[in-house]
């Protein structure tokens, strides 16, 4: 994985962003792969997706997270992995933001299937996802295509 011309401190920062995003996505995929039934119920709880798409999303999203996470960490199509990661993050932000705006109670299901206080935790995870997206876009811009 090569970066555009930059100084040593920035290279270290980019390395940590890569690890942060990669490990976060690998970790986030684990419980969803282990319990697709639980994740499908979480997706249903968002009350956004049509019924026919819920199971397909529950089956594929965790593996998309896992593949993108490993691909980024091991430098295999890193810019492509970042496109997937940033796309997923943007999707999460839109879904969470939409439900927060309309006051719909939901469980994020990001790292586990149980949250104590949905409203508070969902605002904090929206901020977290925004931070991760900004980091992902920054890393994408700094990573060379070659």
């Amino acid at each position: 994985m090569k970066y555009r011309k930059t100084n040593k401190n920035t290279v270290i920062l980019l390395f940590f962003i890569k690890l942060l995003l990669g490990i976060t996505f690998i970790y986030a995929s684990y419980h969803k792969i282990a319990d697709p039934d639980g994740f499908a119920k979480i997706i249903y709880g968002y009350d956004i997706f049509p019924g026919f798409s819920i199971n397909i999303l529950a089956i594929t999203i965790p593996f998309l997270e896992l593949t993108a996470g490993f691909s980024l960490i091991f430098g295999l199509f890193p810019r492509s992995a970042l496109l997937i990661i940033n796309g997923l993050l943007l999707g999460f932000i839109l879904v969470i933001g939409f439900n927060l705006l309309r006051g719909h109670q939901f469980d994020c299901g990001c790292f586990s299937f149980k949250t104590q206080d949905p409203t508070v935790s969902n605002i904090s995870l929206l901020i977290r996802d925004l931070f991760l997206l900004i980091s992902g876009v920054y890393l994408f811009r700094k990573t060379t295509a070659s």
Partner: protein, 166 residues
């Protein structure tokens, strides 16, 4: 973004999709490609290899449930946690929490005849605990067991009478 990025993205998405479908097919926790997510058809669930939902024993009409409860046509079992039951439940419903099934099984066997007509409910249409409980009852040779698919939430939304234990 260039064509190599897009090709790589397609490749990764394809790989992830194929791996996901393959894993789901052979995993003991795999789910069907299409679940049952229409509330008009009863309890919503993903149709997994581990679930116990039997649509044929569901009663989806709350008016019928109201009649059953009022006329005491069936023994009504509430399988939600006891503290939730105490906050409000269907009239004459008896608490047999699913999570305490093993501890309360003797009490259940001694107090409810196997030929009794039984109605089981849990929290809502998204809850499958009532089906799990009904399946266990069937395994114990209770043959006349029905599930109120809408659960307590639908009963409450309809504004029907609620009993509390405080």
């Amino acid at each position: 973004m260039n064509s190599k990025d897009l090709k790589g993205t397609v490749l990764l998405v394809f790989f992830a999709g194929i791996t996901a479908l393959f894993y789901n097919q052979f995993s003991p926790f795999g789910i069907a490609l299409f679940g049952q997510w229409e509330t008009s058809k009863g309890v919503v669930f993903s149709i997994s290899k581990t679930d116990s939902v039997d649509a044929s024993i569901e009663i989806n009409d709350p008016e019928i449930i109201k009649r059953i409860v009022q006329k005491k046509e069936r023994i009504v079992l509430d399988v939600r946690p006891r503290e939730i039951y105490n906050q409000g439940h269907l009239p004459f419903a008896v608490s047999f929490p699913l999570m305490e099934f093993d501890e309360t099984i003797e009490q259940l066997l001694s107090s409810i005849n196997r030929k009794s007509a039984i109605l089981v409910y849990c929290s809502s249409i998204e809850c499958t605990d009532s089906h799990t409980f009904a399946m266990r009852l069937k395994n114990l040779k209770y043959d006349n067991v029905k599930v109120f698919s809408g659960g307590f939430r639908q009963w409450e939304e309809k504004g029907y009478e609620i009993q509390k234990n405080e």
